[in-house]
Symmetry: C2
Subunit: 367 residues, 2 copies
Amino acid sequence: PSFKLLLLPGDGIGPEVMAEVKRLLAWFEKRGIAAFDYDERLVGGSSYDADGVAITDSTMDLAHAADAVLFGAVGGPKWDGVPYEVRPEAGLLRLRKDLGLFANLRPAICYPALAESSSLKRDLVEGLDIMIVRELTGGVYFGEPKTITDLGNGQKRAIDSQVYDTYEIERIARVAFDLARKRRNKVTSTEKRNVMKSGVLWNEVVTAVHKREYPDVELEHQLADACGMQLVRRPKQFDVIVCDNLFGDMLSDIAAMLTGSLGMLPSASLGEANPATGKRKAMYEPVHGSAPDIAGKGLANPLAMIGSFGMALRYSFNLSDAADLLDQATANVLAKGLRTGDIAAPGQATVGTTAMGDAILAELDAL
Amino acid sequence: PSFKLLLLPGDGIGPEVMAEVKRLLAWFEKRGIAAFDYDERLVGGSSYDADGVAITDSTMDLAHAADAVLFGAVGGPKWDGVPYEVRPEAGLLRLRKDLGLFANLRPAICYPALAESSSLKRDLVEGLDIMIVRELTGGVYFGEPKTITDLGNGQKRAIDSQVYDTYEIERIARVAFDLARKRRNKVTSTEKRNVMKSGVLWNEVVTAVHKREYPDVELEHQLADACGMQLVRRPKQFDVIVCDNLFGDMLSDIAAMLTGSLGMLPSASLGEANPATGKRKAMYEPVHGSAPDIAGKGLANPLAMIGSFGMALRYSFNLSDAADLLDQATANVLAKGLRTGDIAAPGQATVGTTAMGDAILAELDAL
Ligand SMILES: CC(C)[C@H](C(=O)O)[C@@H](O)C(=O)O
Ligand SMILES: CC(C)[C@H](C(=O)O)[C@@H](O)C(=O)O
């Protein structure tokens, strides 16, 4: 099979980790597993520097035409002062919104070899495997009005709007319940129904979808603040967590940090299935950011970006054998003790980005 | 001196922990340290059951007239189905809003004797002492519109509005900077300026207040999701964290859970100082909730409620010696190994609510 990809390395360490994925694309082609036809474009601060916007219309056209977008990371202090509309993050948000990528899947997995690098006690996180399902095209990220108004007298008023419609909650709930059925069959839905009307509607719609379509799945409701606490206290109680865009941003980062493996964690952002072809628009990106402090030094951990490509193999290309192969290579490399700085125990020897990529390729050759 | 108090025990374990404060009031009177004239009223679910609202107008009148309100906790599954306007939390929110309690101080302190009950590794939390300053009368909690509308076709639309004006951000920033000056002189301001206009304004106003009035205090900005991560990863980097109402809800609960001492943590909610008298409206409440699962069993930890009374001694009654005395009694009781269930190490003997109160009184007698 042959696939069209758009690579958007972005800023900071983005290009460095994307370089390792390009070597993987070549490996899978050479092995005859799949052929990849790819374009590479700017996004974020680097796009702003070149073209004055965080993503160009022609890059958006390529994104629409691709079978999958692979995204690195955007942002950095260099662009702190740029106008709001063209800040680096605007490129990412436009991709999510215009491609309709409403379902953000963020696995938080604690690799046994890395349990020690968690700040939590080992027994609380060892074997942790949570899937956070975050709504990605609605809520306070995109609701209107979203304004700053000058009121005179040195006063301004800022407004952001959290807006959710029934169908937006229904479709993300279905994604969560479908995933739970293939996992440990439990969904925790989280909101702030005690202070937010959107929380009231969220709770009502998830409950209704559950009753009507997924009575076999265990459903529990937690307030978002309580869920944050429980993630820190006893994370293994969770299987799938479903939440809105903003709570998902906070909770998925916290869950990621618990694992001690932030530099390891991939994510997938999926659109609705095309009724004719069954295909979904999709973008894959690491959970970590652009890490400006280590950018350009060859120190970044490429495994989250590589894992994101693995999710593309699985969810977009239907190549789960190839995805398994890649996961196995990663597990082997970790078991052999290879560590980039972010996942090394104190005193443990570390390798750089390219050496980690080399090791993955060597494992793939050996498998 | 003599003070007027309003006690609002609320639901669940609220009345049990408030009972221990009442014994303290008597002790301080007997010792001649202060006289307390107090009323006790219903709030939350128990008020709804009795009067059909989460707080009555006459109780609000008493709150306005009091030197301080002591609040227990509200809510529980019993009231899950009640109409939104009269749900238990509405009583708490009305108190905050109508009394103008814009500044919520939530210390997250890890008691050395309790470091082991944290889910984090001991060295990361031992000695932890963070002050979270949460804006409490604005943002998405109170912004309008806040509605659910029927769109027909089985679709509803929920809207919540995050609204902040310059003056609201200025006054909470000042509270944070003033506190930092008496502590380790560092403020971390957190928002999501990369996606929210209110985050842009928040950042701008805090930066301006800092530059104009507090250049001697160290100021750092963190995105709210990054701040959540850093709390889990390396909490001791923080001194004072200042944030909006919703981020403050999430971050303060996470910080509280880190300490392993949730049942220990008090909070203060303060209004603006009266220009004539210098007095502030104030309410004091534990950070923990109503814990319906253990309510009525005599198992609740009263120390957060007692500590909240301690904050009242300090911030409302200007009795810092008395507050120090109470803090010392608490430290002694913990050092002697007394533990309620929530703070006991596995296998450690536990005591109930009243026995913990007895022990505090015995320490006070001995001091
Ligand atoms: C970069 C930023 C806009 C983004 C978000 O807030 O969604 C990031 O934090 C994420 O979680 O993907
Ligand atoms: C009970 C609830 C309304 C409240 C809040 O969300 O503010 C609580 O979680 C808190 O933090 O005091």
